[in-house]
Symmetry: none
DNA sequence: TTATTTAACTTGTATTTACAAGTTGTGTTG
DNA sequence: CAACACAACTTGTAAATACAAGTTAAATAA
C-alpha cells in the first residue's frame, strides 16, 4: 500500500498546507530540524521535500533564516496550459463556434510533423472565435487526431473549454508542448473576423500540445488581437 | 578562491560538456558511481549535481538505466529562437552591447512594481541588440537591481549571456517569472535598430523574472523581429 | 533453440554524522 | 546608551553506508 516515499508525502502535505493558506505568504515554514522531529524523518529526507517545493516556486530558502512561503500561482509553459481562456487573464470569455468539431483529412501543408498513427486516423477540426467584453480577440483553429474520442462531434462546446472536455470525458491530460510566436499582419479573413483596424498587427501562435495518450497531440493555430489585451503567462 | 562547492563544479562541467556536444543527444552520461570515481566525490554529491541538470531539463534520469542527455533542453519561459528552416543554435547569435551595464536610477514610469529594497538600490541598465546570421532580430532593454553584483559593470558581456554570468559568477538562478506579449507596430527607433521593412510588425514582450535572491528580479523589455524567425518555447 | 533465471549493473530512498556559513537576538563591555 | 562579542539558532555542504527497485545481458535449464 504505502509505496509513496516519505519525502514525497511530506512534500504533498506541505504543498497542500501552503496553497490552502495554513502558512501565510511571506512567513516561515517550520525549520528543517523541527520538521524532522514532527514527521520522524532525517534532515536529508526533509531537505529533499523542501527542494521540490523550491523547484515549484512555492517556497524560497535562505541560509541562516529559513524557508519563506511564496504561494506564487505558477503555470507550466509560456501561456497557461489549461486553455486559451486563462491565458488572457480575463474571467469572462464568450465563445462562438465557427466550425463545430468535424472529421476530415489533415491539411496538405500542415505546419507540424505527424506520426503514422496520427496520419492514418484522420483529424478532427474545429474553429472558434472568442470574445472579451463583446469584442472578438481570439480566433483559434484546432486539429486533433481522430482517436480515443467517441461521439466528440456531438458534444456541445458552448460553455466548456476543449481541454475541460478532453480531461473530464476522455481522461486526456495535457503534459506539455511547444509553441512558436510571431507578430504578423492579418489577412482579410482574420481582419474581418477580429474586426481589426487597418494597420493593426496580430499575434500569431502555433502550438503543439502533448498529452498522456501516445500519438495524441493537439495542434492549434491562434490569432490574437493584442491592441487592448496582452497574452499573459507566468512560469 | 575555491569556495565553490564540489557539486556545483561538477554541474558546470557536465553542463558545459552537454551543450558543447561532448555527449551525444540521447546517449547516456557516465553512471553515478563512475562520476564518483572520476571526480573523487561521494554519490550524494554527484546526485546533487545531476539533480540540477534534471531541473534544467538537460538530462533525463531513468531508474535502472542511467542519465539520458536530452534532445530538446527545456527552456525557462521564452528563451530560444528557432529559424524557420531548421533549429538555428544559440551559437549563431551574435550580440552587440548598445549600452554596457551602467548604474542609474529606476525610470519614472516603470511598467513593473518594485519593492522598497529594489527602489533604494538603484538599478543596473543595459541594452543589447542580437543578431542571427548578421541580421538584427532581437532588441532587449534590461533593468536589474544594483544588489549582490560586485564589479558587474566591468564584466564583458560580448560572448556570454546575461543569465550565464549571473549563474556562474553570482550564483543567481532564474526560478520563474511572468510576461506579457503583444504584436505592435514599431516606433522609428526600433524600426531603425531592427532594420524593419515598412509595415512589418514586431513582437513586444515585457517580462519580470524572479530569482533565488529575494528582492532580485530581472525586468526586460524585448522587441523581436518575427519576419524570418519565431519565438520558440517548449514546456 | 527457446524460455527462464540469475547476476551485475543502473538509479532511488534513507539514515547518521560532521562541520561550514549566514542570521538574529542577547548579552557584555566600553 | 551604544557598540561589540557571542551563543543559539537557521540552512548549506559533504562524507560513509545500506538497502530497494528497475534494467539488461549473460548464464542456465527446458
Amino acid at each position: 500500500m504505502e509505496n509513496i516515499p516519505q519525502y514525497r508525502k511530506l512534500y504533498e502535505l506541505l504543498r497542500k498546507h501552503i496553497v490552502e493558506g495554513v502558512y501565510e505568504e511571506g512567513s516561515l515554514l517550520p525549520s528543517e530540524n523541527e520538521l524532522c522531529a514532527a514527521y520522524e524523518m532525517t534532515r536529508p529526507t526533509v531537505r529533499h521535500a523542501l527542494d521540490s517545493l523550491v523547484k515549484d516556486g512555492l517556497i524560497l530558502k535562505k541560509q541562516g533564516k529559513g524557508s519563506i512561503v511564496r504561494k506564487t500561482p505558477k503555470n507550466i509553459g509560456i501561456l497557461s496550459i489549461s486553455g486559451t481562456a486563462s491565458a488572457v487573464g480575463v474571467r469572462y470569455l464568450k465563445t462562438d463556434i465557427l466550425q463545430k468539431p468535424m472529421i476530415k483529412t489533415w491539411p496538405e501543408n500542415f505546419s507540424f510533423e505527424l506520426s503514422e498513427l496520427e496520419k492514418e486516423s484522420g483529424c478532427i477540426y474545429m474553429e472558434r472565435l472568442r470574445f472579451v467584453e463583446d469584442e472578438p480577440v481570439f480566433y483559434d483553429i484546432n486539429h486533433l487526431p481522430n482517436i480515443y474520442l467517441p461521439r466528440i462531434t456531438n458534444r456541445s462546446f458552448e460553455n466548456r473549454s476543449l481541454f475541460e472536455i478532453l480531461r473530464k470525458n476522455y481522461q486526456i491530460e495535457i503534459l506539455g508542448g511547444e509553441q512558436k510566436l510571431k507578430a504578423v499582419m492579418p489577412d482579410k479573413q482574420i481582419k474581418k473576423l477580429l474586426k481589426l483596424k487597418t494597420g493593426q498587427p496580430v499575434l500569431h501562435i502555433e502550438r503543439k500540445l502533448t498529452t498522456n495518450r501516445e500519438n495524441f497531440n493537439i495542434y492549434s493555430t491562434i490569432y490574437f488581437n493584442s491592441e487592448k489585451h496582452a497574452i499573459f503567462g507566468s512560469f
